[in-house]
Symmetry: C2
Subunit: 183 residues, 2 copies
């Protein structure tokens, strides 16, 4: 059982300072659609900013029960597994309530030599279906160190060619899902 | 040598009619960044609409030589391999001029049983480096049949779990690049 969380706080800005980032509408759509395509159990948009949670709630309602649900039923299906939470503890509590178990947390990063979990090991662990797993994606310039350090594992980075590795979080989440849950 | 093209005409709308779609800013950024990460040679945004080409040109100039080029050099690097063209013939001509050879065209689709190229075969062919290849992505509800039929190959679709397969073009392009050029 794999759950996804898109973290908007605490994340880093370009100067390595901890910030709360703004929610990007297409992040929600793209990661929900990829999550649904690969069989993730749920997707959490995490932000402590009240206004942003209201905004995300409006977007979700539009597609789940509003005009969007009639216009595009596939989108409705993807977004019906999406929820908004104020922090990571609320996400963990929600998963514990749903599954009866606390999830193992896997942080992601674009480039970090401290990785403790390979794609192959992650894939094999997910296939065992013993525990819920929660995969954490950072917006802006990535997850703050405190999130990475508090996670159970740090997933190996996606390596590109020629040293350039600057994928959007939408691309990275899609590729990671394909690597650990794809054919 | 792999080139990418994001097609805005001719593509299908939800009613299977042929339309010209509007350019989405994040499509340009995400596919350029993924293309650069995986070592694609070039990325073409294709639209016959003059206003849209002007808009894309402004976006590219902002990041290549304008304020964006100072703000984010990684983005500059990705977008410097991006160009806008009015139609597929112009793309093919450009690649022929650059490489001395006409590219082999590979169309993509979300679900089609007529696929003639597997991910494995595509990967092996790219590794040979004998010919330029041009991978075509459709916006809106996908490439029009005439584009699929005029291509040399139709790539097998990305199969998800449980029959749901509604990835954004940003996600699909990222996953396909990872499958054919990734580790």
């Amino acid at each position: 059982m794999l759950y996804l969380a898109l973290i908007h706080y605490p994340v880093k800005n370009r100067n390595n300072e901890t910030i709360a980032s703004a929610v990007t509408n297409l992040d929600i759509h793209d990661i929900a659609r990829a999550g649904r395509t690969y069989g993730a159990q749920g997707f959490y948009v995490v932000t402590p900013l009240y206004d942003q949670r209201v905004l995300v709630g409006q977007i979700l309602r539009h597609w789940e029960t509003g005009a969007g649900s009639v216009y595009n039923r596939d989108r409705k299906e993807a977004l019906s597994m999406t929820a908004v939470k104020s922090d990571l503890d609320a996400v963990i509590g929600d998963i514990r309530k749903e599954t009866g178990k606390a999830p193992l947390l896997v942080a992601t990063t674009a480039a970090d030599c401290r990785a403790t979990l390979s794609f192959d090991d992650f894939r094999q662990n997910l296939a065992k279906e013993e525990r819920p797993w929660l995969l954490l994606f950072g917006t802006a310039w990535g997850l703050a160190d405190e999130v990475i350090e508090s996670a159970d594992f740090l997933l190996e980075p996606i390596s590109g060619k020629a040293g350039y590795n600057h994928l959007s979080v939408r691309s990275a989440a899609s590729i990671i899902l394909d690597r650990v849950l794809g054919r």
